[in-house]
Amino acid sequence: MTAKAKAPGGWQQYCALLGKDIRMELRTREMLVSMGVYAILVLTIYGAALSQTASSFDILSVAAGLMWALILFTSLLGLNRSFSHETENSSLEGILLTPVSRPLVFAAKATSNLIFLLAVEVIAVPLFFIFFMGQAELGSTTPLMILPIILGSIGIAGIGTFLSTLTLNTRGRDVLLAILMVPVVFPLLYACVSATSVALLGIEGQIEIFWRSLLLAGGYDVIMLAASWGLYEFVLGS
């Protein structure tokens, strides 16, 4: 009788996969740099787009929308890159050869994408405030906008990881990811813009809309992450 080595548990497998992604990113910094630079470029474009507005223009009414457009475009770029290492050296096949359950691969990849997205947001969102919101009268509830940012990032990273696996070996995958992702993620975007907008404006008595939008975003996250978790096996299969 040969002694069986104890198989690592699900949590350990998850940590190993996540650690691998983070280590690789810290060494190459490929995703973070490209996403960060891209975010700054989008901000520059906003600078040109808003350059002709009158001084009375109320940036607060469109700020939430602009910020979420920035986050979505940046995340699309990052998500397209997130699997590029895996296909370049066929290391995805390596991962698939190990007895790791498919949903765990999804969870690890989605978490690493979420971490990178949040890291870029930590730089991009304050920059957005510095560049465009200098003279705006922010509402007292502004700090609450961190909640829709977190919920939105979870949803974008989750469904984005799922869809970028779907488009992994397709023709013109960069465009395809955007085509699939924008309509799927739209309800989340809508809810997050609404919640962020309410937080920024801070109008008395509207906080209820904030929580309702947050509930919508949370519900979307739960449904889409559950669907991704359940369907990932078919996407990553043979």
Partner: protein
Amino acid sequence: MSNALEHSYNLAQTRQKWTTIAVIALILGLVLTTFDVIWAFFRAPIVASDVVIDPPAVLEGGTVITNQLLFSQKIFYFHVPVAIVSFVLIIAAAVYAVLHLMHHSAETDLRSKTCMEVGLVFIIGTMISGDLWTRHDWGVWWVWEPRLTTYFILTLLVIAYFVLRTAIDEPERKARFSAVFAIIAAIDAPISFGITRLIPSSIHPVLERGDSGMSPDMLIPFVCGIFGMLLVAFGIFRLRLLLQEQKLEVESLKARLEELDRQ
């Protein structure tokens, strides 16, 4: 050999049968739809807001209440059945997609795809008829209103489904991936269907079910419209399916012939 012959004979018989059924469904559906349109124009009462203030029952039935004589409301008898059938088709596509993921048969994939194709036709019909109505009654071509927005997303998702299909070469993977995406896309269909009830502030009218205030003169063409469009959709679906099956068969026969040539 005789076994194979018998098999192909049976297949031809089944096909013949389904073609007949599809053509009958198509003709019956077209008759019902025509009946719906004629009735809507000549029999159904024109909903006029200034006349019907007193008995509020007449107000329902998906009509917008403004001050004009709502002749444009007649588009309701076309728009709503088409929209309902488009939802049915998208859900059917998702059901076939689930079946495909369970059994991995090429047939379910073909059916899922055909449902999507017919669904896209009906979605475009809904979009055009809805847009004409919007322009006339709300005065704008488009508003970002919950029902319109979610339906627009549904349109984009169905288009994205076909873009995804063309982007993958390998047949087995194409079938599997598009089944997965069909399920994701279909999540939007019930949301879009129910959103006017979930968000009552929506300006899109809500069509109540059951013993709503639709008078028989309105209900008859409406129900005829729904059944007619369903039959039309079924007929198109079946004929399209048949066409694609035959196309696949021709291709496989060609491949076999080439193989025989080489031997």
